[in-house]
């Protein structure tokens, strides 16, 4: 009975956000967008119910005496050889992340109602918020890799569009595109992991691939080589989503979006999605020590770099972004070292703290001015200055972006340009057009 209640609550968590998203889409397409007041009521109602449902799901799971609940929502497609299963899985890992997601989405939705009052993209913002909320909840509840991949892509799209929310300025739009590019690399990694699991097991069900023992225990049923291959694919996906080196530059760029969405996505949910992914695949790491070492190394490098670069930032949101990166890097290092519960606690605490800091960042300047006028300059503690050379390197993010530009983007652009030139030369010759 209790287990059934828990399952029904999970369906409600996703269904409510999905329906809200569809309702926003439909009203926008039919040019019948509701008033701000009605939108606010709807969104508050949806997230109040969503959070209550997720709480109920957790409580009823505890009351049932079970440690995990699985729901087979149905097959999107089922043929003789191929099944695309929608499986939800609630356990000790997904429950805290689900509660975090629904709570923060709700808080930020209420905050945004005032923050974006009379903004031209008011409805667009809530439409994307619902899409993101749906995607994030589905990510943490996913019980199969195909479900996870489905949700993973939705998060990426919603994020890119929210960063480019103020679309009349080129800056946010360019940054939105940059983030989307990194997310596509991340999606590629997850897709490769999914295809590898499919080719080994014929299914992407985590129970089959990662063992049916309760998280954080469990033994992967993969051979060592395959586990390493899948591990690296998952790591690529996690690095992209959590802005680890060399993809770190997207996080400061994401600060161009509206502050509430920045708080929830890049301070809390989206940036920790990579860490969640690594934790979900944790049974794999004991069979893939090379991947574990890489996770630790990448996390450590990200944390150190972010800490140094963060020191020379002059903008509060950028500074917070690098502080976020430092913590997420440390979380990665913890996962690489084999901790399981510590990173979960670290993620949750960090997400809540950082969200509050982001939400308060617009009023921080006023507070600093007030402090200065009351207590004088000594009220603001200054950090130790870096040496000029060190400062310059840190200011340029240790040339990471320039390096990526030089070794990846420029050759790719040159190759594509060369192909178009070859084509145009052939066309000119065959078409008999003059050289100029």
């Amino acid at each position: 009975m209790m287990l059934a209640l828990s399952k029904a609550s999970l369906v409600a968590v996703l269904g409510l956000q999905g329906l809200a998203f569809l309702a926003f889409c439909l009203t926008a397409w039919l040019r019948r967008s509701p008033s701000e007041k009605l939108t606010g009521r709807l969104i508050r109602g949806v997230y109040a119910l969503t959070f209550s449902s997720s709480l109920l799901a957790g409580l009823s799971l505890l009351a049932s005496g079970q440690s995990a609940a699985r729901i087979h929502l149905g097959d999107l497609v089922a043929t003789r050889e191929y099944q695309f299963n929608f499986i939800l899985h609630l356990d000790g890992l997904s429950l805290p992340f689900l509660l975090l997601c629904t709570l923060l989405c709700g808080v930020v939705a209420v905050f945004s109602e005032k923050y974006l009052h009379r903004e031209p993209g008011f409805h667009r913002y809530f439409l994307l918020l619902c899409l993101f909320g749906f995607g994030d909840c589905l990510t943490v509840l996913a019980g199969s890799i195909e479900t996870l991949y489905f949700a993973w892509e939705l998060i990426g799209l919603a994020s890119a569009l929210l960063i480019g929310f103020f679309h009349e300025r080129p800056g946010p739009v360019n940054n939105g595109f940059y983030v989307f590019t990194v997310y596509r690399i991340s999606d590629f990694g997850l897709m490769m992991a999914a295809i590898t699991l499919f080719s080994v097991f014929g299914t992407g069900d985590f129970h089959t691939a990662l063992g049916s023992s309760l998280w954080p225990h469990g033994d992967s049923n993969l051979a060592r080589g395959t586990a390493t291959l899948v591990g690296f694919c998952v790591l690529l996906a996690a690095m992209g989503k959590s802005a680890q080196v060399p993809f770190s530059n997207w996080l400061p760029r994401a600060m161009e979006g509206p502050t509430p969405s920045t708080a929830i996505f890049y301070g809390a949910l989206s940036v920790h999605a990579g860490a969640y992914l690594l934790l979900r695949f944790s049974p794999l790491w004991q069979d893939a020590p090379a991947v574990s070492a890489c996770i630790f190394g990448i996390g450590l490098v990200t944390a150190v770099r972010a800490n140094l670069v963060g020191r020379v930032q002059t903008d509060v949101k950028c500074r917070l972004a690098y502080a976020t990166l430092t913590q997420v890097g440390i979380i990665f290092a913890e996962i690489g070292l084999g901790f399981r519960l510590l990173p979960v606690v670290h993620c949750l605490g960090h997400a809540v703290l950082r969200s509050v800091q982001y939400l308060r960042s617009p009023s921080l300047l006023h507070e600093i001015h007030e402090l200065r006028s009351t207590l004088g300059e000594q009220a603001i503690r200054r950090q130790q200055a870096l040496s000029p050379a060190h400062y310059q390197a840190a200011f340029h993010g240790y040339y990471l972006e320039a390096l990526l530009q030089r070794i990846v983007l420029e050759p790719l652009h040159r190759l594509c340009d060369a192909l178009t030139r070859i084509d145009q030369t052939i066309v000119r010759i065959l078409g008999g057009a003059p050289r100029n």
Partner: protein, 440 residues
């Protein structure tokens, strides 16, 4: 009997209407294409529960493969007729679209090679008649498409599969004979280009005439060419600035993935390729229509700067993004599952090069987002009044979006049907492979 009469009526009605004055009016053409679509859907609903070879009356043939292609072609024709802006509308254009529709429907209803060859040649006429007076373009098209026709006819006449396949490859714009495609997209009128390219007659000819009797090595070559072309198209789209050429690159990249599916040895890959034919075709048609609408409002566009104007055309922007994402297989659209199936099939067949499907999809999705941001975001240089969608645009885009989203959420029907078609094709291929083994 009823089905063959209905099928005949579906094929002939648009062509007959194009001969009458009423058929060339807006009201007449919309009515005729809507009826054609209705009949084609009726055939689909009638035929889905039945077994194989649903209609075999005379030359007409309808089986699991073609049963979805009739409503697909009818929807393309109907959407183009309805979407045509007032300023582009003319009796000649309407007649051309109606004739193209009839040719497409007839092509998808036949499997007799000489009849297909005749229609193959005929399908070029409406496009050729509408080409601008650009000598270079005409020369290139004559070389590639004319050459393709000659090869196809020679292949049918001699029964030589290699010639037939070469003709098909030229028509599909597969590497290394693809150069005409970006030129055509850049210089010819959009409706004619879409009516010519979106149905993908080349894929049908390939499935009907080449795949059942091709040797495994020929199929391997076909699939490899498809994969390389898809990546090449994605690279071109990535580099171009002219929106029409960008669209051509995406079109080339996504449609040639169908060939990548045809060489798969697993049902999943083959079914994925066949589904991608439908989903990619409709999504790319929708993308083309939104570009057409944008050009009608603002003139030629490029991606060298931000054009702005989202607030003036929010639904056009949304439609552009939705169609673009549907074309590259984003979740929630039918393209998502077809790409999943295709990727699984190609990696199963070729573990090392199958990955190109994922690379192509990723690159094309970046191009779609880049195009969306450049075309609709940024601040507009001049003030223009609201340019929202008018009713006919609304109707056409909604009609194209509905199947993409509906079958994205409930794809079982379409995937099962494509799976059965893939089964039949695999059986034919197995027989051909045995034949080649005996010969060896």
């Amino acid at each position: 009997m009823f089905a063959s009469v209905l099928q005949t009526l579906t094929i002939l009605m648009p062509a007959a209407a194009s001969l009458t004055g009423w058929g060339r009016t807006r009201q007449g053409s919309v009515t005729v294409t809507a009826l054609t679509l209705l009949f084609a859907i009726d055939l689909l609903l009638w035929g889905l529960p039945a077994g194989e070879a649903l209609v075999t009356a005379g030359m007409l043939y309808l089986d699991e493969l073609s049963i979805w292609l009739l409503p697909y072609a009818a929807l393309i024709g109907c959407a183009l007729v309805v979407y045509t802006p007032r300023k582009d509308r003319s009796p000649a254009l309407t007649a051309s679209l109606l004739v193209s529709l009839s040719i497409d429907l007839a092509f998808f209803s036949l499997k007799w090679a000489p009849a297909l060859a005749f229609l193959w040649v005929c399908s070029h006429i409406p496009l050729w008649a509408a080409l601008p007076h650009d000598r270079a373009l005409r020369r290139i098209l004559l070389l590639f498409l004319g050459g393709g026709c000659v090869l196809f006819l020679a292949g049918v006449a001699t029964g030589n599969l290699a010639l037939l396949l070469a003709g098909v490859l030229m028509r599909k714009g597969v590497i290394p004979v693809h150069q005409w495609l970006p030129e055509l997209f850049a210089k010819a009128p959009i409706p004619h280009v879409l009516a010519f390219c979106a149905p993908q007659l080349g894929a049908y000819a390939c499935v009907r005439l080449v795949v059942p009797s091709a040797s495994p090595s020929m199929l391997l070559g076909l699939g490899t060419l498809g994969l390389v072309t898809s990546l090449y198209g994605a690279c071109l789209a990535f580099a171009y600035k002219d929106v029409r050429r960008v669209f051509a690159g995406i079109f080339m990249g996504q449609t040639s993935l169908v060939f990548a599916g045809l060489q798969c040895t697993s049902e999943a890959g083959l079914a994925g390729g066949l589904t991608l034919w439908l989903s990619g075709g409709l999504a790319l048609l929708g993308l083309g229509c939104t570009l057409w609408g944008l050009e009608t409002r603002r003139g030629p566009q490029d991606l060298s700067r931000f054009h702005g104007g989202f607030e003036r055309t929010p639904r056009l922007a949304a439609a552009f993004l939705l169609f673009g994402l549907a074309a590259v297989g984003f979740p929630g659209t039918v393209g998502f599952l077809s790409e999943e199936l295709l990727l699984e099939g190609t990696i199963h067949t070729y573990p090392h090069v199958g990955i190109l499907v994922a690379v192509t999809a990723a690159m094309n999705s970046l191009t779609v987002m880049r195009a969306y941001f450049h075309l609709f975001c940024g601040s507009a240089r001049q003030y223009l009044p609201s340019q929202g969608l008018v009713f006919r645009e609304d109707a056409a885009l909604t009609a194209l979006l509905l199947p993409l989203l509906l079958f994205g959420l409930l794809p079982q029907t379409v995937i099962s049907s494509r799976w059965k078609a893939a089964d039949t094709l695999l059986a034919q291929r197995a027989a051909a492979a045995k034949h080649y083994q005996v010969l060896r």
